[in-house]
Amino acid sequence: MGKVSAPLNWTDKTYFCCAVTLYGIAMVYSVFLWRKGFQRDDWVVYGVLAGGLVLHTVAMAKRGFNLQTCPINNLYEATAFIMWTIVAVNLVAGIWQRFRFVGAFASPLLFVLGVFALFPDLDPELANGAHEFSGALSSLHKALLMLSFGGFGLSAIGAVMYLTQEKDLKMHKFRAILSKLPSLERLETAMTRLVWIAFGLLTAGLITSSAYLHQVKQVWFKADPEMIWVMGVWAFYLVLLVLQKRHAHSGRRFAWCALGSFLFVLLTFWGVYLLSPLHQTSNAVS
């Protein structure tokens, strides 16, 4: 009997890279599904994303156990957390056949976010004990905020599905009938509920952030760019939901707003994070 070789010493980054590769494969297959009008093979993207989620979870767990805290200390970790939320919810929704194609819309976003997260500068090495935020409130406020952004990301994916289906129906495209996408009403309901859930998480995230700030700095509010930005995002989504509740705008407009809002979050989050003294002072290697 030969000696069994030792297992590969994979780091959390290696697992994450593999997960992003799987998201990339799912994205390529999604292009095929788009061209075929979402008529078949709905299990392929779902299966590939499930494989990605396993590797992604291992990556996050390894990082979390290494740090002994919720792994959201820099842009890489924050992005990985948002991505994880999107994949997890997407796979849960995909249990229902009508929502299985969400993965085809989610995979391009996941791949782009994954590649972005892998930029070396986004994951500076942490010095031992360098976490300014440690403890339950620290982990909780970060997790809640990232989960809410993941929720907004999913609502944006729902919005793309809605807009695709709506356009095909308006243009009398045959693929609108053939596709296995859910009905417009169902997509609008899913989109709205996701925004509500994400908004709830964001609200909870803001409250815990404030509580944590009070715990460590004895103030409830600080004019930090990121804190102001999060409050701005909260106010924007509040207006969006109030208008939706009052039936002030159509499903199509709501979809555009959900998509536009998330794109705004996506494009500005990184800049605001880097501008925030509250979050930057502790993370870099001193």
Binding site: H172, I177, L184, T189, H247, R252
Partner: protein, 360 residues
């Protein structure tokens, strides 16, 4: 004992001829008895639908003898202007079985892949079975035909999609609305197609239907038939807040619904989606309304284009279906041609060793 088939259908005979050969359902059992008395058929099944009249039979005689007798049986007491050689088709042996499978699978139907014929074929076979007019051959052939139809339905897309305007409208509604069971349908103009469309929507669970027609009495009649209520033609807009689907088929020479009229009404509907199905020629609904948010307008050409696309998809499946039919036909013919193995009291010993063991 070969199986034969003699018949006529929508391809070989126009409706003026088909209606002369239509066999009343109530008399089929009598005809089955008469058929077996007057011909050499040992087994028989008679299928009579609006698009075809066919007799499947099995005989111990020459197939052509039976086919001639079946032809004479069908022509008896009927005056037909057309040439019988042109209107009747004949199949014997493998060809008859293949034809039966094609009929059962809807491959020989006017609307390719339709399923109604399978039900009619089952009913015809059941009647023959009850009359003890079938035996080994036809029983085996018909059971196999039902299996082939099922296999084709599950393994191919021959029955996919709707090829009628009414069902396409239902499919569209399914793409817009989550469920149909709490929807209200309004029919403007009590035409035949609009009635069919409304019926199709109601059969899929639409909650209620309103009918508005220039003649209130006609509207009332149709509303009663559909289990809905009639609405005054000049004031149908008052009901607009509750409506989700409008089917319009008036003979008005101008637009009955235009953007100017619809825009203020959409506001009171709180941006709920609205499906407009315009099956009138000239059109009842101004095409501009399709540019309004939450409004989806389909006219008769749009619906027919979708039905045509489905039909094209079904035609693409024919090769796949034919290979299933061919394989099963060969399988059945082979099994019918194998003579039954005589029963033995003691199975023969297969080897010398076993033989000697038995002797000892």
């Amino acid at each position: 004992m070969p199986i034969v088939c003699l018949g006529l259908n929508h391809r070989t005979a126009p409706v003026t001829v088909r209606e002369r050969f239509a066999l009343p359902e109530g008399e089929l059992h009598v005809l089955l008895g008469a058929l077996r008395e007057r011909t050499v058929a040992k087994e028989a099944v008679i299928l009579s639908t609006c698009n075809r009249v066919e007799i499947y039979a099995a005989t111990e005689d020459e197939p052509q003898v039976l086919l001639n007798e079946l032809r004479a049986f069908l022509l008896k007491d009927r005056e037909v202007d057309a040439d019988p050689d042109e209107i009747f088709y004949e199949h014997a042996g493998e060809s008859a079985v293949r034809h039966l499978f094609n009929v059962a699978s809807g491959l020989d139907s006017m609307v390719l892949g339709e399923t109604e014929i399978l039900g009619q074929l089952k009913a015809a076979y059941q009647l023959a079975l009850d009359q003890k007019a079938t035996s080994g051959r036809l029983n085996k052939a018909f059971q196999k035909a039902f299996n082939v139809a099922k296999q084709i339905r599950t393994e191919t897309n021959i029955q996919r999609g709707s090829v009628s305007v009414a069902n396409v409208a239902v499919e569209l509604a399914g793409k817009i609305f989550d469920e149909l069971n709490d929807r209200t349908v309004m029919v403007i103009g009590a035409g035949d197609t609009s009635e069919k469309t409304a019926r199709a929507l109601l059969s899929r669970g639409a909650r209620s239907v309103m009918v508005s027609n220039r003649s209130y009495d006609r509207a009332k009649d149709l509303a009663d038939e559909l289990g809905g209520r009639a609405v005054d033609y000049d004031h149908w807009e008052t009901e607009f807040a509750a409506i989700d689907i409008i089917i319009s088929s008036t003979s008005a020479p101008h637009y009955v619904i235009d953007r100017k009229k619809l825009e203020p009404l959409q506001g009171i509907r709180q941006h709920r989606p609205l499906l407009l199905v315009d099956i009138a020629v000239p059109r009842d609904i101004e095409p501009e309304v399709n540019f309004m948010e939450d409004v989806y307008l389909y006219n008769i050409d749009d619906l027919q284009a979708i039905a045509g696309n489905y039909l094209r998809l079904r035609h693409e499946e024919i090769v796949k279906c034919e290979s299933i039919v061919d394989a099963t036909t060969r399988e059945l013919i082979e099994s019918l041609n194998v003579s039954p193995v005589p029963r033995r009291q003691n199975p023969p010993l297969s080897s010398a060793g076993e033989a000697s063991a038995a002797q000892s």
